[in-house]
C-alpha cells in the first residue's frame, strides 16, 4: 500500500475505502422474501438447510426497507407488475434485482398467449442478473447470486465517475 506500509501496528489493515465498501456490501446482500410462483419453491429450497444461503451471507428479509436484493421468483402478471415496481421503489439504495426463471426474464411459456403476463420484469425494474431455467435449480440460483456478488464487489461507490 505504498506510503502506508509499515506505518501502523500489526493489527491494523490498510485498504482503500472503495474496496472495503464493495467487500462489505457484497458479502451480506440480504434478499427480499417474496415469491410469485413455482420458482419461489426453488428459492425456498436454496435458502433452506441443504443449500444454506447463510454461507454467502444472505438471509431473507420480510420488509423491502431492510432488503438489498430483490429476487423476482416467478411469473409476473400485469396485476403484480405494479406491486413489484412499488416494492422495488421502497427498497433503500444500493439495491439489486435478480430475475429468476424464464417467466420473470421473458414471460416464459406465457410469451405468446398470456394476455395477463408481463413479458420480462426488466420492463418495470432494472435487472442485474438473469438466472435461466424453468425453474432454475438451487445451484443455478446460487451461481446467479455469486455473479451478483462479483458485480457488487467490482463497484466503486466512492470513485467519481468520469464521463
Amino acid at each position: 500500500m505504498g506510503v502506508f506500509e509499515n506505518k501502523f501496528q500489526d493489527n491494523v489493515v490498510v485498504a482503500s475505502l472503495d474496496k472495503l465498501l464493495g467487500w462489505a456490501r457484497s458479502t451480506s446482500p440480504w434478499f427480499f422474501q417474496f415469491g410469485l410462483a413455482c420458482c419461489a419453491i426453488e428459492m425456498m429450497a436454496t435458502a433452506a438447510s441443504r443449500h444454506d444461503l447463510m454461507r454467502i451471507g444472505m438471509i431473507p428479509r420480510s420488509s423491502p426497507r431492510q432488503a438489498d436484493v430483490m429476487i423476482v421468483a416467478g411469473t409476473v402478471t400485469l396485476k403484480m407488475a405494479l406491486r413489484v415496481k412499488k416494492l422495488y421503489e421502497q427498497m433503500a439504495n444500493p439495491k439489486y434485482v435478480i430475475s429468476m426463471g424464464s417467466c420473470a426474464t421473458s414471460g416464459g411459456p406465457y410469451w405468446q398467449h398470456g394476455y395477463h403476463v408481463l413479458k420480462g420484469v426488466d420492463l418495470v425494474v432494472p435487472v442485474d442478473v438473469y438466472v435461466p431455467g424453468c425453474p432454475p435449480r438451487p445451484e443455478a440460483l446460487i451461481e446467479g447470486l455469486l455473479k451478483l456478488q462479483e458485480k457488487i464487489q467490482s463497484e466503486r461507490p466512492l470513485t467519481r465517475k468520469t464521463a
Binding site: 400485469l78 407488475a81 405494479l82 410469451w111 394476455y115 395477463h116 408481463l118 413479458k119 420492463l123
Partner: protein, 233 residues
Amino acid sequence: MTDNLEQLINDAVEKALAGDMDAINNIEDRVTRSKAKAALVKAKREAAKEQTEKSSDENSIDSSDVKQDLTINENIAELLIQQFPDDIIKELSSKEHIQIQSKNWLIISKYLRDDPACLFDSLQCITGVDLGEESDLEVRYNLHSMTHRHAVEIRISCLRNKAKVPSVESIWRIGDWFERETYDMYGIEFEGHRDLKRILLPEDWEGWPLRKDYEVQETYHGIVVPKVKEGWE
C-alpha cells in the same frame, strides 16, 4: 395305482362337499391329502361361479322388465318438466345435461336444492363457455347431492351483448366466487349477486379475456404488452 389315488381323492372331495371334512382329514398320505384339499378348493370355486352366473341371469331377466334406463339427468329433467313446463328446453337437453331458460333459474335452483327427490346440496362448479363468435355464451352448473349421491349438469345460454343470468349465490354460498370468476372471464352478469366484481384480474382491466373476440390491450398502466413476437419461431 394313480387311478386308485384319483378315485380316492374324488370320493373324498365329494364327501367333503356334502359336509363331511373327515373324509379328507382321514387320508393318511400327506401328499394325497393336500391334493385332495386343493381339489376341494377348486370344486368350491367352480360351484360359486356357477351360482353367480345363474343369479346374474335371473337379474337380467328382472331388469328387462323395467321399461328403460334413464340417466340421472333425464330423470331430473322429467321432474323439472312437471314442475316448470315452460322453463326446460327438452329439445336441447341430452343424457348429459339439462338445458333451461334463464328466467326462472333462481326458483328452479331452490327447487333443486330443497326437493326431497333432488336435494342437490352442493354446487360443484360454474363454467362459462363461449361457443364461438357467432353464437351465444353459456353458463354451466354442476350440481351434486350428498344424500342421493347423484349429479346433474344444468346449462343456461345467454346473449353475447346482453349476458345476464340470475345469481344463485343466495342458494349455494360457494356460487359467490364461482360467479365472480365467470363474470371476470366472460362478462356474464349475475343479477342479484351482492358483490359482483372481478375476482382475479385487477379491477381496472378492460375486456373479458376468455371470450373468443377478446383483444389483448396494448398497454396496461403504461406497461407495453407486446403483440408482435419477433425472433421467435
